[in-house]
């Protein structure tokens, strides 16, 4: 029996959260059971993905290929747990477990009613399953379906707060994201028309031989993919929905939306661009220049806009725009170092931004203050929460020993290796700006006199989740070990394949 489970782990990573999510509404009123089940599923998921990652590392990067229904590649759907798949599965499972623990403690204060909370967990698990699927699927149409599941559950999570502005942000997000999925579907259509395959490997092989016959169609397909995934991943000029959506959602939702959901679309875009289109073709269409250029603009504009926000969660949301810029910049450098940096930044930003949003959420629910200028003295009243916030800020700025440093260091090396000194300068300037919008929060919280209000630390579960994430930031910064190894191998797969 255990052997059967082990052999089917790739498919369980996707379907276990989905099916548990579908059963949750039947006992929606029993909150304890729902929470326990969600945390249990996430914990088992973390164990399973760690096992898969160890297996992939032990095989030296040879992918585990799972054929659903026993149908082999061009006919059936493949799940491929390669370096990239194992890496992102690990990130998804590693971030969603602490967030689920935090949500079980804090959600009662942010979402009213047991049924609404149960539906929140349903959407949360659906999002987790869809992200796991995105990281390991090898089929273009499957990508579309999973992207759509993730988008709908993201919109649901955004609208979970009762405030009317939540519904408005969710609607705007839904409209733009659906525009994006239409574009993605169009891109898949163009690729299917040209290559006749939906499997990524087969499509890539066909595309390498036929693209010269239909350069315009391929160009259309790539631009559709860029715009489609760009809208969903909040790539710079298309980020307008993000600050509203991520700042009104309940804080656990903001954490997964900013930390994971956006990254899932980037992983899909990476798969399409590097596994199907290929680096050579990207250079032909000078896509790499575009990615680096827009990435630089995103870093600068996102950071500058974040500087001007007084609302804490909005400031963090704009910071996400800037950090997405880093990832795209690393992608566009087209060398192994830059790619590794981008992938590792996906992991470290996932953990850091979740920690920041959860800490901000804890501060907001405990004190009721949403603006940075009102947070005077929070650091003394809530030492653990603000301590985690400080660690996460240091990590995001890129101080050595914290996880943000590793990714940024690799991207810096990559940009110097590519001879792009402007990009290197922007990476450093982005870090300085990042310090500029995060350190004032810490200064206000610690060095300004506290009011007489009686503010308490959040409950045990929230503190546990925050400490877990802070430890994650530390561990990834000091001994990045296996995760960095996986990222490096995935980057090599991307750039040196066929």
């Amino acid at each position: 029996m255990t052997a059967a489970i082990r052999a089917n782990l790739p498919v369980f990573a996707v379907i276990a959260p989905l099916f548990v999510a579908f059963v949750l509404p039947t006992f929606a009123r029993r909150t304890r059971l729902v929470e326990g089940l969600v945390i249990f599923v996430q914990a088992v998921g973390l164990w399973g993905t760690a096992y898969l990652a160890r297996l992939v590392l032990a095989q030296g990067g040879l992918p585990i290929i799972y054929e659903v229904g026993g149908w082999s590649a061009p006919w059936g759907i493949e799940l491929v747990v390669g370096n990239l798949g194992a890496f992102f599965l690990l990130v998804v499972a590693g971030v969603s477990l602490p967030v689920a623990i935090y949500a079980s403690g804090n959600l009662a204060k942010e979402v009213e009613g047991a049924r609404r909370r149960a539906w929140f967990y349903v959407l949360y698990l659906l999002l987790g399953g869809a992200l796991a699927g995105m990281s390991i699927t090898n089929d273009l149409f499957n990508v579309f379906v999973l992207v759509e599941v993730a988008t709908l559950s993201c919109c649901g999570l955004v609208s979970a707060s009762q405030e009317p502005s939540g519904a408005e942000a969710a609607f705007n997000y839904l409209i733009l994201a659906t525009l994006g999925s239409g574009m993605i579907l169009g891109g898949i259509g163009f690729l299917y028309i040209v290559t006749g395959h939906l499997n990524m490997g087969f499509a890539a092989r066909a595309l390498a031989t036929v693209w010269q016959d239909y350069p315009h169609v391929v160009w259309m397909a790539i631009s559709f993919f860029m715009v489609g995934f760009g809208v969903k991943a909040a790539f710079f000029p298309l980020h307008i929905w993000l600050p509203d959506a991520h700042s009104v959602a309940p804080s656990p939702a903001s954490a997964v939306l900013s930390g994971l959901a956006v990254k899932g679309y980037i992983i899909c875009l990476m798969k399409v661009l590097f596994h199907v289109v290929g680096p050579e073709l990207m250079q032909v269409f000078s896509l790499n220049r575009l990615l680096v250029l827009l990435g630089m603009v995103a870093i600068l504009i996102g950071s500058i806009l974040a500087l001007g926000q007084d609302e804490l969660k909005r400031r963090l949301a704009f910071s996400t725009v800037a950090q997405i810029g880093y990832i795209f910049l690393g992608m566009g450098l087209l060398n192994v170092k830059g790619m590794t940096g981008a992938l590792f930044h996906i992991a470290s930003h996932g953990i850091i931004k979740s920690a920041l949003f959860l800490a901000a959420g804890a501060v907001i629910t405990q004190t009721g203050k949403e603006r940075v200028s009102e947070l005077a003295g929070v650091g003394k009243k809530m030492p653990i929460t603000m301590g985690v916030f400080t660690i996460a800020s240091l990590g995001l700025v890129g101080i050595p020993l914290f996880s943000g440093f590793v990714g940024k260091w690799y991207m810096l090396l990559g940009s110097l290796g590519a001879g792009d000194y402007l990009a290197a300068a922007v990476i450093v300037a982005g870090s300085v700006l990042c310090a500029g919008y995060l350190f004032p929060v810490i200064r206000v919280a610690y060095f300004e006199p506290a009011p007489a209000d009686d503010w308490q630390e959040p409950g045990v579960r929230q503190r546990l989740a925050l400490i877990l994430l802070a430890m994650g930031i530390f561990v990834l910064g000091t001994i990045p070990g296996p995760l960095l190894e996986l990222a490096l191998a995935a980057a090599t797969d991307f750039l040196v394949f066929n």
Binding site: I15, F22, T26, Y66, V68, G69
Partner: protein
């Protein structure tokens, strides 16, 4: 709620046939056009027609919210259980003929093997989703 006598009789007479047709489309998904989504839609629209003609309260009596929640959840779970048959027999998820399920003569009802049974779960899910959507939209107070 509509007061028209003819309409009420016609819906009462047609309802069993609509539902039979829905099940027919679900089970013949692999040999003819249609399938679990289309069939489930027909199945659900039968209830919607009933509720439109006889009023929302009668409709809710026939199909209480508890029932639709259960069918929605377990319709999908049914899909998972059917998929697990393959795993229990030592084959991948959703294995059909591989897992030793009888797939009869091509072109006949049994030739789908697992597909019809999976389709049943999906169809029930679709039908209950459609009715839930209908009731949610109609019960919304202006």
């Amino acid at each position: 709620m509509m007061k028209d006598f003819v309409l009420k009789r016609i819906v009462i007479v047609l309802l069993p046939f609509i539902q039979m047709y829905g099940l027919y489309v679900i089970f013949h998904g692999h040999v003819s056009p249609g399938g679990s989504f289309a069939g489930g839609m027909i199945l659900g629209l039968g209830f919607v027609a009933f509720a439109t003609v006889f009023g929302l309260d009668r409709g809710r009596q026939m199909l209480p919210e508890k029932v639709t929640t259960l069918t929605e959840s377990y319709g999908t779970l049914w899909y998972g259980i059917m998929g697990m048959i393959g795993i229990f027999k030592g084959f991948p998820f959703l294995a059909n003929k591989l897992a030793g399920i009888d797939v009869g003569v091509p072109g006949t009802l049994t030739s789908g093997g697992l597909i019809s049974w999976i389709g049943l779960g999906v169809g029930i899910r679709v039908a209950s989703t459609i009715t839930t959507l209908f009731f949610t939209m109609m019960e919304e107070k202006p």
